[in-house]
């Protein structure tokens, strides 16, 4: 079961002073077990570009810049047996404490 895991900032990060998990170890561990297919950190929203087509016309603009306090800063594509396994993968990501993670399964198009 594939999950897109959005890595987001959060206005109320963890205050636990213990050391955060190492992201490189997290990537190596989950890549080697086949639970992480790909992923990356994203450039800041100042580098984002919006593309729309309206009435046949291409509209390109900067942004979006709205809601700057909680933004997507990265992503990982997970392949897990079920939600419980995806939660276990997510909980050990450093951003589970510094921000928050959103697990979105692929839609089941056969249904």
């Amino acid at each position: 079961m594939k999950f897109m895991m959005f890595v987001c900032t959060d206005t109320a990060p963890d205050t636990d002073p213990t050391e955060l998990p190492d992201i490189h170890k997290w990537v190596a561990e989950n890549d080697s077990r086949g639970r992480r297919l790909t992923g990356n950190v994203l450039a800041p929203t100042s580098a984002a570009t919006m593309v729309r087509v309206r009435d046949g016309e291409l509209l390109v603009s900067e942004g979006p810049f709205a809601e700057t306090t909680e933004v997507i800063v990265g992503f990982d594509l997970l392949d897990c047996a079920d939600l419980d396994e995806a939660i276990e993968v997510a909980r050990t990501h450093p951003m589970a404490r510094e921000g928050r993670l959103e697990l979105r399964p692929y839609a089941d198009l056969s249904a």
Binding site: D82, L83, D84, P105
Partner: protein, 419 residues
């Protein structure tokens, strides 16, 4: 666990009312098992519940004329399974599911001893899936009642104070979410089990209190006790399960003594202790003896044990209860715990001590408008000797409670103070 009497001989036609009763009795036990079996074979929650539901509807139609079958559970499973096969054929899904359903012989799948490991595992999988933290708490309670306990949707709606159509939508949404979010049909293992267990216990306790409430549905309380027993058999290493079971049994032991002949509610000290269920108390004590940790249910069970084993209200070990509430307030502070702590200190160390704790509890504002807090104050004031003020407080509390039985009990207290 079976609540059906299958010892009758050849089926005869029965009255519609008797048939409806037989369907309800068979359904309560059979529904969760049918649903669990069909989920295991098809992985489809909505299909499993629709087919189980339909089997009950067919039984309601046929049993009045054909008579109640000798093995009602097996009969219902056969009808539900055939229905599932029909639906799957029409939607042309994988052949494997169809095959597994076709080879399921309901007589084999319906053993005489329902406590078989497969049945128990099925039920436990259902419990953990229905109580998954990725579902909203209201959805967890409703789904557990519907799927694990087999309570009809209309009854759940009445119990949770929503319309039947709202409850139907809520249940449908929850089942869809289980499938879409990827919530597994599985009991968690390792450290995940310890993390998930409190959520399951909270649902069971909520189920019990909803059933045990003055105007509640007693069958739900029975169901919660049964589920707690089952959980303890399956998780003997989890101390809090034994603690919850003990707590439920101690409270449940008073179910027949809570009302007088007129149906009015009796407070603990006025109940006839001979009418308490002493077998339940003994079972609770045995469960409490298996409790090793100091979790929130452990402290609550120890408090309930003090009440359940006191020879009379006057001989209750209040200092032990007060200390247990102190410990409980440290790990699980809440307005209700604070209120009960005030009561315990009042009995253990006198009304002035109780009022001191009550004042501190009410300072936070969490008990504002709570009629129980007014009643507790009334009782403490009465024991200080200020009868007019105590009577006025009891009347104030009576005016604010929802339940007629509780109102009547509070007004009686006021009348006794100022005849």
């Amino acid at each position: 666990m079976s609540r059906t009497d299958t010892t009758t001989g050849a089926p005869d036609s029965v009255g519609a009312a008797a048939a409806a009763q037989a369907v309800a009795a068979a359904g309560a036990d059979a529904y969760p098992r049918i649903v669990a079996t069909l989920i295991r074979l098809t992985g489809d929650w909505a299909l499993a519940e629709d087919c189980a539901q339909e089997a009950l509807a067919v039984a309601l139609e046929r049993w009045p004329g054909d008579g109640v079958p000798g093995n009602p559970g097996g009969w219902l499973l056969t009808v539900a399974r055939n229905r599932a096969i029909d639906v799957l054929r029409r939607t042309a899904v994988e052949r494997r599911k169809l095959h597994e359903l076709a080879v399921l012989a309901p007589d084999d799948a319906w053993p005489e001893t329902p406590a078989g490991r497969d049945v128990v595992d099925d039920r436990l999988r259902l419990i953990f899936t229905c109580c998954h933290p990725a579902l909203a708490i209201e959805a967890r309670v409703a789904l557990t009642l519907r799927t694990v306990c087999g309570v009809p949707t209309a009854d759940i709606a009445r119990l949770l104070l929503v319309s039947e159509s709202t409850m139907t939508r809520r249940l449908t949404r929850a089942r869809t979410r289980i499938a879409q979010a990827g919530i597994p049909y599985r009991v968690p293992s390792g450290p995940a089990l310890a993390e998930r267990l409190p959520g399951v216990l909270a649902v069971l306790y909520l189920l019990f209190t909803r059933g045990y409430a003055v105007d509640g549905e007693p069958a739900f309380a029975d169901e919660a006790v049964r589920l707690a027993r089952l959980l303890e058999v399956l998780m003997p290493e989890q101390s809090e399960v034994a603690a919850l079971l003990a707590l439920l049994l101690f409270q449940h032991s008073r179910r027949d003594a809570r009302r007088d002949a007129a149906g009015d509610l009796l407070t603990l000290e006025r109940q006839d202790r001979a009418r308490w269920d002493h077998a339940a108390i003994a079972e609770g004590q045995a469960a409490l003896a298996r409790v090793r940790d100091d979790g929130p249910y452990a402290w609550q069970a120890r408090i309930a044990a003090c009440h359940a084993t006191a020879p009379s209200a006057d001989d209750t070990d209040w200092p032990t209860i007060a200390r247990a509430y102190d410990a409980l307030a440290d790990i699980r502070a809440s307005p209700v715990v604070a209120l009960n702590r005030a009561v315990a200190h009042g009995y253990a160390y006198g009304p002035y001590a109780g009022l001191g704790v009550l004042d501190a509890a009410q300072a936070g504002g969490g008990l504002d408008g709570n009629p129980l807090a007014v009643a507790v104050r009334a009782d403490l004031v009465a024991r200080q000797g200020d009868r007019p003020r105590a009577a006025a407080l009891f009347r104030e509390a009576a005016a604010a409670v929802d339940s007629a039985a509780e109102r009547s009990a509070l007004l009686d207290r006021a009348d006794e103070l100022i005849p």
